[in-house]
Structures are given as C-alpha cells and as structure tokens.
C-alpha cells in the first residue's frame, strides 16, 4: 500500500538528472563566473567544462523454452572542469590573463619524458644488436 508520505517522495531519475546536467553545461553561466569587483578592477573568471555520459544494455542467449537467460544494463558518466583564464577589466582597458596550470604541465612532461626514454633506449638496443629499426618491429613491440 502506498502511503501519502511515500507518494509525495521525490522520484530519483538518474537518466533525467544526467541529461539535465548536460543541458546546464551548455549554459553560459557555467563557464563564466560572476564578476568580482575590487576597487576599479573587475575580474570575470573563465573555466572549461566537459561532461560525458554513456549507457548500454545487453541480453543473454535464448534457452530451449524461448526464455531469455539473462540480461543487464549499465551506464556511467563523468564531468571535468578547470580554470582557463580571467578577464580583467580596468580603467585602462580589458585584458585576458591566462591561467597556467604548472602541475598538469609537469605531469605531462614527466610522462612524455619517460615514454621518450623507453623508445629511444629501445632504438639504441636495436642498433647494438645489428638489426635496424623497422615499422613492422615497432608495431609488433607496441602490440606486445
């Protein structure tokens, strides 16, 4: 029996929530923050936002009686946001100050450096063994 209290409880619809999140992402105020005023200077923070979601479902084979043996469905999503720049409005004019994320750059440099080190090291090892590098060997080593 459904009581009045239960009937009035809000229904949770994950798909609807995710879709409404996507619609909100497309609005301008999600990327541009509220202007902050300090004396003669006004700053508008700007950020980048990315939202993605996916879902899928599948069913198992049909048995001798014609019944589905199993099935399932799932979904997932994620959102990412980061500051990009700040618009600074002063008496002299308007300028855009970029936001430099040093941590991300250092991490990317370290990853790329490690990748380069491994491949250049392999190249030298190939040279030493007398076998010149080739694209087929390069492809094989990527696959392995």
């Amino acid at each position: 029996m459904i009581t009045e209290e239960k009937a009035q409880a809000p229904l949770v619809d994950p798909t609807g929530q995710a879709l409404s999140q996507l619609v909100t992402t497309a609005r301008a105020d999600t990327v541009f923050g509220h202007p902050v005023e300090r004396g003669d200077t006004t700053v508008i923070p700007c950020s980048e936002i990315a939202v993605g979601l996916g879902m899928g479902s599948g069913s198992g084979p049909v048995d001798e009686k014609g019944n589905q043996t199993g099935g399932g469905s799932g979904g997932g999503g994620g959102a990412r946001g980061r500051p990009v720049a700040a618009i600074v409005i002063t008496k002299e004019g308007v300028r855009v100050e970029p936001i430099f994320d040093l941590t991300r750059i250092v991490l990317a440099s370290l990853t790329t450096g490690a990748f380069m080190l491994v491949w250049v090291g392999r190249l030298f090892l190939m040279k030493r063994s007398g076998k010149g590098p080739s694209f087929s060997r390069f492809r094989r080593s990527i696959e392995s």
Binding site: V31, F32, I44, A50, G54, I89, P98, M116, L123
Partner: protein, 111 residues
C-alpha cells in the same frame, strides 16, 4: 505514421555571458559549446573563446587562449616526433639502400 526528428550527431554553438558595463565599456564573454550526441551516450564540451568589448561604435574581440592545453599538446607532440622521426628516417634510408642493392644485382646479371 509518426516520424521522429533526428538530432544531429555534432552540434557546435556559441554562447554569450552576461554583459558587464564598466567605464563606458560593455564587456561580453563568448563561449563555444561542442556537443556530440550518439544513441548510446552524449558528450558536451563548453569553453571560453573570446571577449567582446564594445565602446561606443567600435567593437573589439579579444581571443582567450588556453595556455595549459597548448603547452601540454606541444610537449606531447614533441615527444612523439622525437620517437617517430628516427624510425621514419632509418626506414627510408634502409629502403633506399635495398633498392640500390637490387639495382646493382640486376645490372650484374645482364652484363
């Protein structure tokens, strides 16, 4: 028969933030939305692209650059080029060498 309208897979649109009026200037931030809609999912990417400054009759458009993304792309591309270039150069050289060797062999059999 009811016919459903199909939404486009890729949608690119421009958004405009609230204009800010200061020192007889109107500043409007402009963003860009890239939306990919597939039957099994959806992706939305919204980023700032420019600022429109209107002063009287003149309108200036200042671009907003994402320096962090540019720097990361440059680092990754440099790394890939450093790894791939020696492979490409050596492959071209070894192919040329093979081609020359085959030519030498063929001329020796005919003479």
């Amino acid at each position: 028969m009811l016919r459903q309208l199909k939404a486009p897979v890729l949608q690119i649109s421009e958004t405009r933030g609230n204009p800010v009026e200061t020192f007889s200037r109107q500043t409007t931030p402009i963003g860009r939305v890239v939306r990919v809609q597939l039957p099994f999912g959806s992706f939305t990417w919204h980023r700032p692209v420019a600022v429109e400054v209107r002063q009287g009759e003149t309108v200036h458009r200042l671009p907003i650059y994402d320096t962090t993304s540019r720097a990361i792309s440059a680092i990754v591309l440099t790394g890939l080029a450093t790894v791939l270039l020696p492979f490409v150069i050596r492959t071209i050289l070894s192919r040329r060498r093979k081609h020359h060797d085959n030519r030498g062999k063929s001329t020796s059999t005919f003479s």
